[in-house]
Every structure is written in structure tokens, then in C-alpha cells.
Symmetry: C2
Subunit: 137 residues, 2 copies
DNA sequence: GCTTGACCCTGTAGCAGCTACAGGGTGCAT
DNA sequence: ATGCACCCTGTAGCTGCTACAGGGTCAAGC
């Protein structure tokens, strides 16, 4: 299949596929006489794996390791679990960070009672860190 | 004050301050005879405002608008509230996205029962989207 | 007066993970 | 023969910094 078809089949942009090839995540396929990339089903499943992993938020580097594991059936599955667990921890950290941030934003925006920006509590709050309940980084 | 002092006072990196000046977020201060940037208290409070807004996750563009409002006391505070509310919505969207993602990761990593990567359920799941309960983008 | 070290300057390149051109070639239908 | 959809390479852009390289400045200590 040509790149456009692979793109449609995996719900990926054509330029993204070329990007994955450039960074060595997806192996370079054969070429047609006209120098078009011609993919086979193995590329398709590999790209599906990549896209699925990306949707789950794995980094490109994680995906490299995961693909490597998928290619070496004799290796220990624990490596894959390590990557997943570490990633899960990062996602949870992000969630709790964003949750604190949301609470602060709710508090800030709740202060707006309309009127002029000169006595806008939102602006006030941003200007003066002391108005915050919690530390946020 | 010199840039290093301002950096310490606002808990910002020196290079970040120069970056803000370069993109026009923080106005260029005066210079000493030796061409050092010399900041006054107004720069300091402006930078605090910026940093505080960044900590709350506002984009640089949002901050430009917020600073603009802070500079025009006669304008309507609703604009600031709009920006905050829209941002809050984005944060909430991110939280719910990450939460779905987390649930899926928990499910995926729960499938690992050790053993060889050849029958690793984590790898399996990544390879086959059909294993997923929910759609995730 | 000379060195050392902390600070400052400019300019540019890098990070992640794409995305978006520009400027060209190919392939098929009309 | 012409139009159009598709393909190619190469490069620059996005966000919000961060990290140099290669240089200048200044005060303290010997």
C-alpha cells in the first residue's frame, strides 16, 4: 500500500509517517519505480502499535523500547511492565498537578464579579501571589 | 536590580527573563554603562504576574491579553474572566483525558502476569487496539 | 597589578512530536 | 494535453523554554 492508504488505515497523517521513518521508529519500506513508498501489512501493524502507544501517552523513546521487546519474544515481560508502570506514575502526577491547578482556577475565576478591569479580582490575584491558597508549581 | 537579582526575586531563570524580553512579553529595561540590564520594581511585579500566570498554566498569548487588560483599567473585567474560564475548560478537558488514559493504563498493566515478552499482555494490548475498552484519543 | 570567579552580554541550536510549507515529479482520467 | 490527486525531498515552524559557545565586566584577594 502507498503512504496515503497506510495513513488512512491507521488514522495517521502522511507527514507523521514520514517523520517516524526519519527518526527510525518505523522502518523504511520498499519503493516503487516512481520512488513511492510501498508498505506491507507488517508496517501497518507496527504503525498501529506506535499510534496506539502514542494515544496512551507513551513517549517515542518508550515506544522504541516497547517495539524492541515486541521484537524479542525471549526477553522478560517485566521490562514492558516497568515502562507502563513508570508512565502510569507520570500520568497520575500530571492529573494531580492539573487538579490542583483547576481548583486554583475555579477559586480565581469565582472572584470575578464583573465591572472594570481596574478592580478585577482575577487580575489582582494574578498580580499578587499572596492571594493563593496553595502553592502551585 | 540586575537580571540575576530579578531572577532570584521571582524564582525565574535568567535565560527565561531574557526570553520573555525577546518575545516582547517583558519590556526591555534600561542598561548600565557596561550594558547590563537594570530592572526596576515595575518589571519585578510584571514578571511576578507572568510567572504566576504561567504556574496557573496560561499560555503566553493568554498572558499577553491579561497584561494588556491589567494595563487598561477602563476595560471590562469580563475579558479576563473569559480567558480564565476558557483556560479552566481546557484544564478540565485535559484532566478527563488523562483520567481515561490512566484507567486504560491501569487495565493494561494489570494484565501483566510476568513471563516472556512473547506472551506479554501489555505488548499484545498495544498491538491490538481491539483489546481496549474505551476509545482514547 | 594580576588573577580568579561570579556575574553579565549576544546569538544560535536543541528539546518533543509533530505540522506545514515550497518546489518539484507521477499517474490516471477526461 | 490537461487537470487533479497523489507522491517526493528538504526545511522551517509550533510552545516555552534551556543550554551552550564565545566573549565582556567587576570586585575581592594576593
Amino acid at each position: 500500500m502507498k503512504i496515503g492508504e497506510l495513513a488512512k488505515a491507521t488514522d495517521t497523517q502522511v507527514e507523521t509517517i514520514r517523520y517516524y521513518e526519519r527518526i527510525g521508529l518505523l522502518s523504511a519500506p520498499g519503493r516503487s519505480a516512481a520512488n513511492y513508498r510501498i508498505y506491507d501489512p507488517s508496517h501497518r501493524s507496527r504503525l498501529s502499535f506506535i499510534r496506539h502507544s502514542r494515544q496512551l501517552g507513551f513517549t517515542i523513546d518508550d515506544i522504541r523500547s516497547l517495539l524492541d521487546l515486541a521484537d524479542h519474544p525471549e526477553r522478560d515481560c517485566a521490562e514492558a511492565d516497568n515502562i507502563t508502570t513508570r508512565h502510569l506514575g507520570q500520568v497520575e502526577a500530571k492529573i494531580s498537578h492539573l487538579t490542583r491547578l483547576r481548583d486554583e482556577l475555579v477559586r480565581v475565576s469565582g472572584r470575578c464579579r464583573g465591572g472594570l478591569s481596574s478592580d478585577c479580582q482575577v487580575i489582582e490575584t494574578l498580580a499578587d501571589h499572596g492571594h493563593c491558597t496553595a502553592k502551585h508549581e
